[in-house]
Symmetry: C2
Subunit: 348 residues, 2 copies
């Protein structure tokens, strides 16, 4: 690095201080601090005087240095896996917006897969975030590390059984059980399931819920094919199902909307089947494309706005008071009767 | 806050120091520093000894404090507007992944609209980020503020004319000009445009490109309707076009894929039109749903992977050397000939 470069790098950090502003404004340094601190009192006149001096000097409070002093970084970590499940971006944008309303910033960590969390977690802790929202699963040991560091954490759409931990989730099993009940009660008798990636706990819950209800209804011989939440995997999953069964089942239950859409396109295009005339296909999530007229999915919509609000307020409460006992909030999904499945109209 | 709470909040910050680790390991503090510093040398044995002591004490380097000392926070800001344009989440995930490969973390700022940037920018600067990638437009005054603070910035899909600034973008105008040329040369003579939100500079470039080419081809009487990048706005835009023209035009040019899909559904469902038999409809972005068989859009795909890689390396170069002169990189979009528009097969 040249000397000039170093100087200019340093210029980013060594700027006018609150003392410089105080001197120019003819006030005390603590008065300058108060003006720049949220919620601290300062007269209108004082504020005007200080802001004028700050503007002249190009002074800007250093949020990072302040974090070291106040022991609050005003940053939270959001951990997401990079899976192609379409509803995650919506979750991320909404979390960020809600945190931003509380003047808290989101430090984003994306995992290539949920298994990738160990090194990420270490990074999260080094950045001294005030709290964590994770949409990736943690092991018991990983959760213990976070709890040892006294950092509040909220699980999004995940929870650890038998461990007091904070979580906000959609009831995946309940949603799948409703879809299966609707399909069964309107006459479907042969079923296939397109599950998501094996390390997706959400997919596991959905598949478990569907299989439970199918067993209760006395359905066996369920074909299960694994996809990756993406469109192409939905198409090949449907082909795989037809191949293994020697024909389409009465109904296909896909672990998310995008794979359900892939199944519908494959059924129509490659097999000339009518959906839902020849085969009913259902999804999960209630993402944008679920509503597109060509698909009009029967699905379960996650109440993302309410869930993200709940996660944010749950975390903020625990940042303010780390002694609060753990809480789990479970939201029922919204039941969408689209035209991709034949449901008996008068039921439910 | 109770005393107990305060203590536990403090416990997050007042943990074992590198001196404690050095003492337990029987090595110097600088040896501990070296073990935890990327790229610094330390023998395998030293590393083992230090890591064992660190593990016992629960020591973890404080990335924030280190940032104040090294004058590098290892955080960059990514600014995105919250518009419903589907390709943004993909951009965000890819940027985060690329930065993460360089051990740089993303502090995320989302705007309700592009107009919302002023207060956000102040926050960005207070967090002493090493650099900024913005997918929201800045005014000249705002860019000057960032440059005064000596923080490198890269514009994503935006650029300021006549100002030396770094940008990576897809050639929106070129893409639209190609779409229009294809449509015109295969016989389409009456056109409508569905533009995006008025404060979206990307939409403005796309609409401008389409209109330029239409004028060159001698087409006038183009109907222009404004949408918000969302599906429903595409549907109502198509209805608005038919209403204003007393019938469908030969071709509809939508400023993004999602609105094009809305137009197609409205044309088919509400007007019983065949796409592309009765009306050709084209989009832009090449997002996931563009490929769904029911739509199979003619569109221009942004090379998001290459663009995000370019933005990340452009920013990292400038964090390392702030004196590098400005650079603009413009990527041509990938031309997708789907079945949503009748294109003469032998042209290009």
């Amino acid at each position: 690095m040249s000397e000039k470069t170093q100087k200019s790098t340093r210029a980013r950090w060594k700027r006018a201080t609150s003392y410089d502003v105080a001197e120019l404004a003819g006030v005390s340094q603590s008065a300058v601090s108060r003006v720049f601190q949220d919620g601290a009192s300062a007269s209108k006149q004082m504020r005007k005087r200080v802001m004028a001096a700050a503007g002249k000097l190009g002074y800007r409070p250093n949020a990072i240095a302040r974090g070291l002093i106040t022991q609050r970084s005003n940053m939270v970590a959001v951990i997401m896996s990079q899976q192609t499940n379409l509803y995650y971006p919506e979750v991320l944008v909404q979390l960020t917006q809600h945190f931003s309303n509380h003047r808290i910033r989101v430090l984003l960590f994306t995992l290539k897969s949920e298994g990738d969390i160990d090194s990420t977690l270490e990074q999260v802790l080094q950045f001294r975030v005030d709290g964590i929202v994770t949409a990736a699963m943690l092991s018991r040991a990983q959760l213990a590390t976070v709890q040892d560091a006294n950092i509040p954490i909220v699980f999004y759409n995940r929870s650890l059984p038998d461990i007091p931990s904070n979580s906000v989730r959609c009831d995946q099993e309940e949603g799948e059980r409703w879809l299966v009940a609707e399909l069964f009660d309107s006459g479907h008798r042969t079923f296939a399931i397109v599950s998501g990636p094996e390390d997706s706990s959400v997919s596991t819950e959905r598949t478990t819920g569907a299989l439970q209800k199918l067993r209760e209804k006395g359905v066996d011989g369920v074909t299960i094919v694994t996809g990756d939440y993406g469109y192409d995997s939905g198409r090949s999953a449907f082909a795989g199902i037809v191949d293994r069964r020697g024909g389409p089942p009465d109904a296909v239950i896909a672990a998310n909307d995008v794979m359900a859409i892939g199944c519908i396109d494959e059924a129509r295009e490659s097999y000339g089947l009518d959906v839902p005339g020849d085969v009913s296909i259902v999804g999960f999530d209630g993402t944008g494309p679920a509503r597109y007229a060509a698909y009009d999915l029967s699905t379960v919509r996650q109440p993302v706005k309410r869930m993200t609000e709940a996660a944010v307020s749950m975390l903020i409460d625990r940042i303010g008071n780390p002694e609060l006992s753990a809480e789990k909030r479970v939201f029922s999904g919204e039941r969408i009767r689209g035209s991709s499945a034949e449901f008996a109209a008068d039921l439910d």
